[in-house]
């Protein structure tokens, strides 16, 4: 085998090696349950502060990734608002507004009277960290910050949200049997 042939073979082998490495390291398409939810400190909505999932350590949290241009979010967010009001002793809701215009997001919150905590993921990097494939998507996070459940797509009813958040509601009921 002459030098030129050796170089071609070496080049092809290197290319195949890179492709294999890319496939092997691409990882799972979803976050693993029981693992800590990725965290990022992001601006709040309305603007003026910063927050992250770490600020909710010690509480159950339902993280909801949404955007004002997302049509199903227009039904889901008011349902989440009602759910949060009814169950705020057991669980917090954190909205993550992603790849959205800040003005549009504020108009959305005003129009649908959404009052639970919000952070703004302008670039979509945090949504990528959460391995979302679209909006809306929701994550149930335990008081230790670990992922308990993941839901892709919109919740159609409050009952669906309650079913998704059942571990948090059960824990809340066990802590306060009278409530």
């Amino acid at each position: 085998m002459n030098l030129r042939t050796s170089l071609v073979v070496l080049g092809v082998a290197a290319l195949l090696g890179f492709l294999t490495w890319g496939l092997v390291t691409s990882g799972d398409s979803n976050l693993a349950q029981g693992e800590p939810l990725p965290s990022a400190t992001l601006p709040t909505l309305p603007p003026g502060g910063e927050a992250s999932i770490e600020d909710f350590r010690g509480e159950w949290v339902l993280v909801n990734v949404w955007a004002s241009w997302c049509v199903p979010c227009r039904d889901e967010s008011p349902a989440l608002e009602r759910f949060e009001k009814a169950n705020r002793d057991s669980i917090s809701v954190l909205g993550v507004d992603t790849r959205d215009l800040s003005g549009d997001a504020m108009d959305f919150l005003d129009e649908y009277d959404i009052n639970y905590a919000q952070i703004r993921d302008a670039s979509g990097d945090y949504a990528d960290d959460l391995k979302t494939t679209g909006v809306p998507e929701s994550f149930l996070v335990d008081p230790e910050g670990n992922l308990v459940a993941h839901y892709s797509g919109p919740f159609e009813t409050e009952e669906q949200i309650e079913e998704f958040a059942a571990p948090a509601l059960r824990a809340g009921a066990a802590k306060d049997p009278a409530g």
């Binding site: 790849r99 800040s102 670039s123």
Partner: protein
């Protein structure tokens, strides 16, 4: 005096023209080719996604407000982050996005130049006369014998 007025007029027009050339009027079709859709991973001009339509509305509002192209891009970066620009800025590691193609071009040009010089040198080294190559040892004798044998 008349000459001074004419000179002032010419200078005003010239500098006015330069100023307008430095800050061209922003247009949606131009910006659609220079910024990305926030969710599609394509140029804004190629997308009809709802998020892309909202981005277009935002750009139209900025144009209507008299913003220049650079000001609109800055506003888009403030809204969506630097990924919204189709071309990365030339600072930090992003500088390599501009440096690497230039280096590849220079290396390729040098490789072609080297190959051409080598090819021309080889060509110059070749014999230029039309002298036929000499036959191997004994071949001429064998040919003479064969010709005599067959009386050619």
């Amino acid at each position: 005096m008349r000459r001074l007025v004419a000179l002032a007029l010419v200078l005003t027009l010239a500098f006015g023209g330069m100023a307008s050339a430095a800050e061209p009027q922003a247009s949606l079709p131009q910006l659609e080719d220079e910024v990305m859709c926030p969710i599609c991973g394509t140029l804004l001009g190629l997308s009809r996604a709802p998020a892309a339509e909202r981005e277009r509305v935002f750009i139209r509002q900025q144009i209507k407000a008299g913003k220049t192209e650079d000001e609109i891009k800055d506003a888009l970066v403030a809204e969506y982050g630097p990924q919204v620009l189709a071309l990365p800025d030339d600072e930090g590691i992003n500088f390599f996005a501009y440096l690497v193609p230039v280096l590849v071009f220079i290396i390729a040009a040098l490789a072609i130049l080297y190959s051409v010089i080598r090819w021309r040198r080889n060509k110059e080294g070749e014999p230029t006369t039309g002298t036929p190559p000499s036959a191997p040892n004994g071949a001429e004798d064998r040919l003479d014998k064969d010709m005599a044998k067959y009386d050619l």
